[in-house]
Symmetry: C2
Subunit: 341 residues, 2 copies
């Protein structure tokens, strides 16, 4: 490292910090949604951690403490799902100002446990400390079959790209919460469903057993692990991260990307695509796998799941519209936001 | 829960918060230094987490970033040692203000990895986020033989109480850093050794292999797991916590508590005992086990280790001085500090 002693965190941003930190970690251990530790030949331990700060990642203005707890938990469980790992437990670290209402803490834990209950996952430990700013740090760990672990770096040219569900709903829900008036042409049920998608996202842990069922009998014939990650930072980001890690490109077909049915009569095609690609926090899985297996998977997953494109040679990720209503787009990582700005 | 909606975190303190949080966790999973998850009959996964806040748990005024990193790591590894678990890895969550020097982050990671290297333990994941206050959250996980896991709640009347090393050194080191003039009668080497004890505490992971060696052949004849914890919050706190969890009392002999050799010519007996009992952050283990096994353990551990008392009926923890220089003391948990005050 040759950083000047006066260089600030904001000068180098998240990517700069990650480069420094990676120099302190084992080379092969960083780059997926969670870390893999193979403790026995039959099982790997999968670990992921998230830190959330009041005013940066959640805020009483837009998020109830129950929803903040649910969403933080869902994000961590989604990282496990993205590695094909079943959750074993989570730890919760909490930094709290003395002036915070006790009620807020109870509601946060209610949200956390409501999300965990669905997956029969316990809170197994934690820490509470005094802090000037409310801070939540969740670490989730799970176990996976080493042969079925999903990685970002193993997508192959010709793989079909599967999404396990619709995209754009969480972002639309957030917009409706921030500006209720934009929803005047939506049915009550449509509005409620979009807002729920934002407040109570569902990590796709259910995909693990379906994938296991399909893949285990064929594992000996798979020449590489399934590639993929979750779409928590947006569908575009997920495809770009996978392509970057696998040194491949991709073509996505705009019309194949599943979006909430309300989008068709509510949003312009441009806005609908924008929400689907960049909205984020849909917590679906984006998987790259041989086309035949992909078709079986999509059929078993049912409504919302779809093959949206394929892995190509090169490095470009292109979104095409066969109807030519929207110009072809070349996606780039820099369209994502940088923290510390 | 029947908290009023306006009740503040500072009104109920750490203990009040813990009671609320425990109601959301499995009943048997909280109460030791770390959580236990038995994933296979042969191995348990042990998890522990700590959150540290700038200005509360560390400060540039008294702690270099390297030392802050080392100490946070040592505290987590000590929690694993306190459960008889060998470390597998840690995750590091970091909340950073944009104005922080990048250099600070590098030095923090240098301290973390210096501590980890001794125990061949990797950083396997983490998260970096923007925060108005520098925040460090470390989760450590390890594995243990389920038959050898150390618990707080299983001390038996008649058990000998063993400390794995000297107590009071870390506190003395802190005092020397805060008020260098109080060290004028100490040799340079004595001062350096006390300050190092504070800045670079050594988690007692080396005790695990010694304990395994002694206990494994006799496990079938042990009627209960070894009881114990680490002395990170002070020796008095450790004995009190063990006695409270095990519903027993204890007698400690003041003269048997090992302290740094410099204490004898430097501190009054009262201050020496105070540092040893309440100083904290010595990161030794306090173990309760049958007297014969205790003697073998102390011999194998060598210098610093000692049998300092025994587990008794009742609930009182008494510190006796055979020379009657210091009056007998009855220790109570309330002598420990409360956070959120």
């Amino acid at each position: 490292m040759n950083n000047s002693p006066t260089q600030k965190v904001k000068d180098i941003g998240e990517q700069g910090l990650l480069k420094i930190i990676q120099s302190f970690c084992p080379a092969d251990i960083i780059g997926d949604d969670a870390a893999i530790l193979t403790t026995t030949p039959e099982k790997s331990l999968i670990v992921t951690t998230d830190m959330l700060i009041d005013g940066v990642h959640f805020s009483d203005a837009t998020t109830s403490p129950e929803d903040a707890g649910w969403r933080a938990t869902a994000a961590n469980l989604s990282d496990l799902a993205a590695m094909c790992a079943s959750p074993l437990g989570i730890t919760v670290g909490l930094g709290l100002p003395g002036d915070l209402n006790v009620n807020w803490v109870e509601k946060l834990y209610q949200g956390i446990t409501q999300c965990l209950q669905k997956y029969n996952t316990p809170i197994v430990g934690g820490d509470i400390v005094q802090s000037p700013i409310t801070t939540l740090s969740i670490t989730a760990f799970g176990e996976a079959n080493p042969n079925l672990i999903i990685r970002r770096s193993t997508a192959q040219i010709g793989d079909a790209i599967v999404v396990t569900g619709i995209h754009g709903a969480s972002r639309a829900g957030l917009e409706l919460l921030l500006n209720p008036e934009i929803g005047k042409n939506l049915k009550t049920q449509e509005k409620a469903s979009l807002i729920t998608a934002h407040q109570r996202p569902q990590p796709r842990l259910d995909v693990i057993s379906i994938l296991s069922e399909i893949l285990l009998p064929t594992t000996p014939t798979l020449h590489h692990p399934i590639s993929g990650m979750d779409s928590s930072d947006g569908l575009a980001d997920a495809v770009l991260q996978i392509c970057h890690a696998s040194q491949v490109g991709a073509i996505l077909e705009q019309s194949k990307i599943p979006t909430p049915s309300a989008f068709k009569h509510w949003l312009t095609p441009e806005r609908s695509l924008n929400y689907a690609l960049y909205g984020g926090e849909d917590f679906e899985l984006v998987l790259c796998l041989p086309p035949k297996i992909a078709s079986v998977l999509v059929e078993k997953l049912g409504t919302g799941a779809a093959i949206i494109g394929k892995i190509t040679p090169g490095s470009e990720v292109i979104v095409k519209d066969e109807n030519e209503k929207i110009p072809n787009q070349v996606l780039t990582l820099s369209q994502g936001f940088q923290h510390f700005s």
